[in-house]
Amino acid sequence: MNRNKHLLLWSSVGVFILLVMAAANENLGREWRQIQGTARSTEGAPEGAMDVHLRQVINPGLNISDRCVSCHVGMAPGEQGITGDRVLAAHKAVVHQPAEFGCTVCHGGQGRATDKADAHGDVHFWPQPMIPIKYAYAGCGTCHTPLKVPNSGILEKARGVFERLDCLACHRVDGRGATIRPGGGGLEGPDLSSAGFKGFDSGWYEKHLKQSGEAQNGPWKASFGAISEEDRGALTTYLSTRVGSSKLVEAKAAFNSSGCLGCHKVSGVGGDAGPDLSRAGEKDPGILDFTHVPGSRTFALWLGEHFRSPAAIVPGSAMPMMGLTENQIDLLTMYVLSLRRRELPGAYLPKDRVQVLRFGAREFSTDGATIFSAICSGCHGADGKGRRYAGS
């Protein structure tokens, strides 16, 4: 009896100790508590703000419960953030308010998690880790798809025309321009960064010309003059690709220059020789073979190595070595990362995606040069003189 009595006593004591340990660890020992505790005492923290509690952004419409703001507490709704701190800074100004759209819709990762590795998605069994911050604008692809994107050559040329005609004197695009220059005139015109998405007046040229003709002096008189029809076409191309994320458009232009659609499909358009890429950006790094990929196990790195030498990463792959430059690899990596989808309620479905999915709008510009470079050039070469791949 004594033996059982002691067994009962000591096992009870053991259970009690373990329970207390677990309770303390599960409630008080959480990473976000420590981070918020530090945030309060950091220099520059607003007085009385940032009290320690679990924070989240909830949007039932988007089915998100994003607890990212429990650590990134400066980005929590109602907080001002600490400037200069990587973790605690406020979010930069964006069209989609983090307070409504949360974090994971754009950035990926696991919003419900409250531990760093889990939240960033760098764990087993979470198929969608965060999009690397370098490619952050690939996240736009979750809901949006830039339409009518030409190939790189046409896009560069259009940008050149825009810069050459000094539209930046009055207009702001992608964070540049509309600075009043001393003596040189200049004016604060509308910001054109989202002109392609919001739409713009097709009679802008006539209106500009009229206003310039009526002006006696000042910026309108000094800065505006007649523009050739060819240049106007280039400007229209440039404006219609201004959808708020220039890097993603550039990436898509690189895709439209590489003939990928000759073999691959995106949103129902393209060849059948290779896999459909419509949702290629959602690929789970957990199921990828990293044996031949140096460095960390991220999908972006895997993609880069894959573009360099497809068959070395995926044994037996029929995809040829494309001979891409580092810059092209970077852009194509970004574009593939942007090929993702999310179930969205009607109210959140953007019109560009609707146009592609419901009305068959083309994601690439439908001029002949772009069609050729996006589809045909994969086999026929950029100039139509045929193409031979290394080792084939």
């Binding site: 067994l7 373990l18 607890r67």
Partner: protein, 519 residues
């Protein structure tokens, strides 16, 4: 005028006295037999308490030895109680609807206070329960405790074993992750596997028990919301209720069948008690006569025999039971701190898990299912269940009851059977892994042939013949039963280990998961 005033004061006085006495009377009413400071009062205490009176008031010293039962029955009960408490707590947050279910488990894991810990305990206690119930069954078998008059309780115990597995299996689907989804898909296909036979006979169109079983399990053609609701209902209500009811019967039968099994000469084999431990039990005059003895089964109660070898259940037995309860809790809680319950990706019907593995205790079956779903998943398990159920009715011997490995053959026979059981299972598996099976040699052979002749049925046949040989060799059914139970236990262990550790994608043999192909 004066009289009523006095009465009024008296009434007030009585009221005050009653108020003062209320706490004491509350205690009296609660502990009706008074402070349990004598054996008599302790006995009354146990006797008059609904929850305690499942125990007899006195317990034999043989029962209290750890080697008698090793506390395995209580450990199983304890594990069940732990899953019950943690399960109810989980139900506060769990939402039984596809996708939402997965999110709610994530919430339990990340933001519900100690939710992850409670879920871990639930999972570990469920596993401990399965292990404990298997060990408990083995203990009962090897001490020949299933024999008359305990045959019925053995059957109840088998029912409890099956329900325990059912509870584990239904709980497996609830997280709605890849692991769950594909394990249940396999389970549903096993339920459908009688089609293997009906298809071969060409009668599926008008006689399809397989399709019916699958529909009954899933409530739909696919693993979806109906299946989840169904499994949830089974997991939280029907099976626990059935388990609790059968547990009640199981415990009650232990008392009615004469308590824990013990050898006929148990009294003489116990060490004599030290002199200060021996004291007269019935110091007070008996309050009742033995009229009830007329309907008590078995040998009459302790009339004419001294109660020297029994001890009051309170506190001796209760200390032992509570110690096992707390030890089981300690194990579950400790494991929960070390290892998290698994949660894979959200269930995705488009991306099959490969390999999709059932819970570990079903992997032995899955190993056989790889050859023939209907034999591995339904035929052989049914045979095993029927065989187990028949054992107490075939073994009517008396020698060795209540002793470990008691009966003809004894431990040497069990040792020999362990060798036979392990060797034949390993050899057959090694042969199949090295040379393949009929399908690899003759690709066009009808499935019916493989259904009848496969490693599972072959192993069952070998085990069966071995057991028949034992019956003849030792001239004892107990010897055959002991051999059969041992070899099946060994086969279960071997197949489970191979299924758990050595099977990879497409159920191909690999020495280690590191050798699995990457795609």
């Amino acid at each position: 005028m004066s009289t009523p005033v006095i009465e009024k004061n008296q009434a007030m006085q009585v009221f005050k006295d009653n108020l003062r006495a209320a706490p004491r009377r509350l205690l009296d009413a609660t502990f009706r037999s008074g402070k349990p400071n004598t054996d008599r009062k302790r006995s009354t205490f146990v006797f008059s308490n609904l929850f305690l009176h499942l125990h007899s008031v006195r317990t034999h010293r043989w029962t209290l030895k750890w080697s008698t039962t090793a506390g395995l029955g209580i450990a199983t009960t304890a594990a069940f109680l732990i899953t019950l408490v943690t399960g109810v707590l989980l139900m506060f947050y769990y939402k039984p609807y596809p996708d939402v279910a997965y999110d709610s488990i994530k919430d339990i894991h990340f933001v519900v206070p100690t939710g992850r810990f409670i879920r871990n305990i639930h999972r570990w206690a469920a596993n401990v329960m399965v292990v404990a119930v298997i060990l408990h069954m083995a203990r009962v078998f090897y001490t020949a405790a299933y024999r008359k008059p305990r045959e019925f309780n053995w059957l109840i115990g088998m029912g409890l074993f099956v329900i325990t597995l059912g509870l584990s299996f239904t709980g497996y689907l609830l997280p709605w992750d890849q692991l769950a989804y594909w394990a249940i898909t396999i389970g549903a296909n096993i339920a459908q596997s009688p089609r293997e036979v009906t298809d071969a006979l060409g009668i599926t169109d008008w006689f399809d028990p397989g399709g019916f079983q699958r529909l009954l399990l899933l409530g739909s053609d696919v693993v979806g919301v109906e299946a989840l609701i169904r499994f949830y209902l089974l997991h939280i209500m029907l099976l626990p209720l059935a388990l609790a009811a059968l547990m009640g019967v199981h415990f009650w039968r232990i008392r009615k069948d004469g308590g824990m099994v013990r050898p006929a000469d148990a009294d003489s084999r116990l060490e004599p008690r030290s002199s200060e431990e021996i004291y007269p039990v019935f110091t007070d005059a008996p309050a009742k006569t033995y009229q009830l003895a007329a309907i008590v089964r078995g040998k009459t109660s302790a009339v004419g025999r001294g109660p020297e070898n029994t001890l009051p259940s309170m506190p001796h037995l209760f200390y032992a039971e509570l110690a096992v309860l707390m030890l089981t809790t300690l194990i579950c809680v400790g494991l929960s701190l070390i290892s998290d319950a698994p949660l894979k990706e959200l269930a995705n019907p488009a991306v099959p898990e490969n390999p999709a593995k059932a819970p570990w205790y079903f992997l032995g079956l899955q190993e056989m299912v790889a050859f023939s779903a209907v034999m591995g998943g339904i035929g052989i398990p049914s045979l095993v269940i029927i065989g187990l159920g028949l054992i107490p009715f075939l073994d009517r011997e008396e020698a060795g009851t209540g002793e470990w490995f008691g009966g003809t053959g004894g431990w040497p026979l069990v040792r020999k059977s362990i060798f036979v059981g392990l060797a034949s299972a390993i050899l057959i598996e090694a042969f199949v892994i090295r040379f393949g099976w009929i399908r690899e040699w003759f690709p066009h052979v009808p499935q019916l042939v493989i259904t009848l002749i496969n490693p599972g049925t072959l192993l069952t046949l070998i085990y069966g013949l071995y057991s028949v040989w034992l019956v003849r060799r030792y001239n004892s059914t107990r010897a055959g039963a002991m051999g059969l139970f041992t070899v099946f236990l060994c086969g279960f262990v071997v197949l489970t280990i191979i299924g758990t550790y050595f099977r990879g994608p497409n159920w191909v043999f690999y020495w280690s998961p590191a050798d699995w192909p990457k795609h």
